[in-house]
């Protein structure tokens, strides 16, 4: 199709819908008891900085949900992981209500809380699909406590394309260096974020991949999980 303004408008609209819809999808995170949500947030934080662990978790999910050939035992998935990574993987599965019996996710998994398990899959698969280094940059944004700000930013950007930095909800982005981190994250998701005098302008690059939507989903998931942190 054409790559004119209409396509960009359509993409912005898709991001807008994705932001709104994924907020609903992550509701199971919000209703988790605080201690469990906090524990899950802790493991998720480690995942963001550990591509190997994220990939292993995705493999386990693939085995539990759809099966892979040859059927993978949990031991073979975790074999290459360090003991701490193994602990984190097992902790994550336990927190999202998945019990693996006999060490085989394909045949011996029991999902106690399917809704929560799928919600976590939704987030894990979005994070795993993000381009190189983006998950770790998201982790940095978590440490800087800017995830809710970025959710809000993406929401307002997808609405109008421009966000006012005078908006108190975006105050964290006034800092030039923090903005640079956010700018880099958005650039990895095919969004060109430019700071004007008193506003931020976001443009989805022509011929983008699916990354703006994946970023939106990742941010919504992390935001839901980080409430109260």
């Amino acid at each position: 199709g054409s790559h004119g303004a209409s396509l960009l408008d359509e993409l912005l609209s898709t991001v807008h819908q994705a932001t709104q819809q994924s907020e609903k999808n992550f509701h199971p995170f919000e209703v988790l008891p605080e201690d469990r949500r906090s524990a899950l947030w802790g493991v998720m934080h480690s995942l963001l900085f550990d591509k190997e662990l994220l990939a292993a978790l995705e493999q386990v999910y693939d085995s539990v949900v759809g099966g892979v050939w040859p059927p993978l035992g949990l031991q073979s998935v975790v074999a290459g992981l360090k003991p701490l990574q193994q602990q984190e993987l097992e902790a994550f599965l336990s927190l999202v209500g998945c019990r693996i019996q006999g060490g085989n996710p394909s045949t011996g998994s029991e999902v106690i809380d399917p809704q929560l398990f799928v919600t976590a899959h939704f987030l894990v698969s979005a994070l795993a699909e993000m381009p190189e280094d983006a998950a770790a940059l998201l982790g940095t944004c978590c440490e800087l406590q800017t995830v809710p700000v970025l959710c809000y930013l993406l929401h307002t950007l997808s609405d109008k394309g421009v966000s006012d930095l005078g908006d108190p909800a975006l105050a964290a982005l006034v800092d030039a260096d923090r903005f640079a981190v956010v700018q880099r994250l958005f650039a990895l998701a095919d969004i060109d974020l430019r700071r004007l005098q008193s506003s931020v302008r976001g443009v989805i690059l022509k011929d983008p991949h699916i990354f703006p939507v994946v970023l939106s989903i990742s941010l919504s998931g992390l935001c839901a999980l980080s409430r109260g942190q």
Binding site: Q21, A136, D177
Partner: protein
Amino acid sequence: MFAKATRNFLKEVDAGGDLIAVSKLNDAEGLQLLSLVTKRKGYWFWQKPKYQPLSLTLGDVLSDADFPGPVVVESDFVKYEGKYENHLRGSVETALGKIQLNAQGRGVVERQSSFGTLRKQEADLQQLIRNSVDRKLKLSHSLLQYLLAKRSEVLCVLTQRIMTTQKCVISEHIQVEETCGGALGTHTKTVQVSASEDGNFVKDSNVVLEIPAATTIAYGVIELYVKLDGQFEFCLLHGKHGGFEHESHKDPVHLDPVVFQDFVFTDAPD
């Protein structure tokens, strides 16, 4: 590092996405022409399909054993040298609880990929199609039994591969210089903004991989559409997708599919 190098290579030469990057050196050895590869579709619309090379060939899963090997067509592909540098400078101030943080980071990541002269090997498709006429897959084979039960998997045949012709080196040089006065930090070398718990330090690492000649770094596949009686056809046209003909719908997913349907994105357009 090998996976990054092969992905970067494909970004340059295969923007259309017909080739699949080899992500593990261990897989490279087994990637022979007519090897079987499974393609697993994503559960969510944003997930790219995942390819898993198998240690079986098409001939191994046919009902008759005398399937001839491929007629190989070999040609020059490209000479490839790529250098990537990433710079990020920044300082960040924030308040985390009662701790005031003041972090500065400056990092350089440099990747150099020199695959040298690459050759392409292809199976002669006309010959392959001729050889496959009236042949059937052995549906009792454990692999096919497994795939038949999995609606999300497609069987593919490897029909082309890109190979190195000489030893080559992939190197990664990372230097991260950090200053901070708090607990803010990043934990992986791939991120160029980083800080440690206290003080100033410089991390400097060099990793070099030397990969041998005749290593497959990328490959191409053709999907198979498998009928109920084991007959199969190659999906040669764009838009024609492989898979298994199903007599009746049987969902192999352990989870109640209703859980997935509750999600707004499952029916979103690709």
